[in-house]
Symmetry: C2
Amino acid sequence: MYFSECIGAHAMTKKPLILITNDDGISAPGIRALISTMNEIGDVVVVAPDSPQSGMGHAITLDSTLFTDEVYFDDGPQKEYSCSGTPADCVKIAVRELLDRKPDLCVSGINHGSNASINVIYSGTMSAAIEAGIEGIPAIGFSLLDYGWNANFEASKAYVKSITKNALAQGIPDGVVLNVNIPNIDKSLIKGIKICRQAKANWVEEFDKRKTPQGKDYYWLTGKFVNLDGGEDTDEWALENGYVSIVPTQFDLTAHHFIKNLNTWDLNE
Amino acid sequence: MYFSECIGAHAMTKKPLILITNDDGISAPGIRALISTMNEIGDVVVVAPDSPQSGMGHAITLDSTLFTDEVYFDDGPQKEYSCSGTPADCVKIAVRELLDRKPDLCVSGINHGSNASINVIYSGTMSAAIEAGIEGIPAIGFSLLDYGWNANFEASKAYVKSITKNALAQGIPDGVVLNVNIPNIDKSLIKGIKICRQAKANWVEEFDKRKTPQGKDYYWLTGKFVNLDGGEDTDEWALENGYVSIVPTQFDLTAHHFIKNLNTWDLNE
């Protein structure tokens, strides 16, 4: 299916329908903060995992059944469903089964922890936003750089609201979703919003090797984040310097710059 | 960590060290065919999931333990480990724990089924290749367009070999991995290899809604693949027209073309 050049440029004549999901699970404080902010902007339907799904990347459930349940957490006007699947599953089942019409926007998060730089690849939060983008729905992933369950989302709310209202008013082009990260500092210290590119950074894993009581080796995955990208136009730079970062993110992964070189390979030898 | 411009340009003075993984599990016929082909090119170490992991996207194991076991499937010269984790986990644990040195190449597959166009996003096969790319290892994902366990990989072998030898000789630049798909047709009908871009296509999900014996609704995810990309430079076009497709694939997801527009948004209102 093809979408018009700018999907989601919303006329604002009626309240937009906003789909909310996340990867920390439907009861996480981050999604509760996002729901409360979105209730000020539109009609909200929540379809989110019934348990934490961090690090799920763009996993989908092919070999297992999916359950959804209508649930109630507070007396807000939103409708809420928990889903046994991954964040990407939540978006798919929302669009095909649970919503009456295509949402005007999908927002995912607010994630407890960074999805800046290479984290976008592993992120369940961003996979949900990307899944919505694939469906032709304007989408934004929001993340706060605090991994704690008790993270304070108060400072995030004004930025989430401003970015969301702009996205609804201006539209987001076909094939692009927004990856928003918010520094974990006091609201008074946040300098503003910067549009960025994804920093070139990675995780250097350190496996914590242990023995079971029966003497068999096993591992826990741990790691150290390493950013050696010196650019001042990256999300990591913005976050380290007190800015909210927005990286426009695409799911056409073609490395167009290498096509010409590949055509010189002697492949049909 | 930074890598030189062209990682993996191999001097061919000694046998390259090749890491093999997949997402269909270590006993799948596709990875057995890949191992047999790679044994003709280099020293092979296999680290692959102990069970099928299709549709896992770029999932990693954060909340669970990881086990590895040295295993033996045939009398080939390769060393093999099964791993309880995802394809991305397999690459991480291979590089950090199981291999003596950084491999010269990582190949993933041969997947039972297409990873062309949007499938790259959901693909465990490609997530392993991308994980290797993030680690600075030249990497290729191979997929045959036959979902059957009894798929015939004979026609694939010559193409897998030619592409692998070129990748070792020419190198693959930092930040790029190759996504190779092979049509499911007789070898004599394959017209050659085409360098392509990722087609703009998607899945239109159809959820198969059922009731448990206790009367609770549940769903199976199914779907129909829809390619409305008319371009003749896409992977889907190549595959439909009898060619092996190679899409150079990147993991910098920045939509650079939208940065200028985003900078016009009134975000700091």
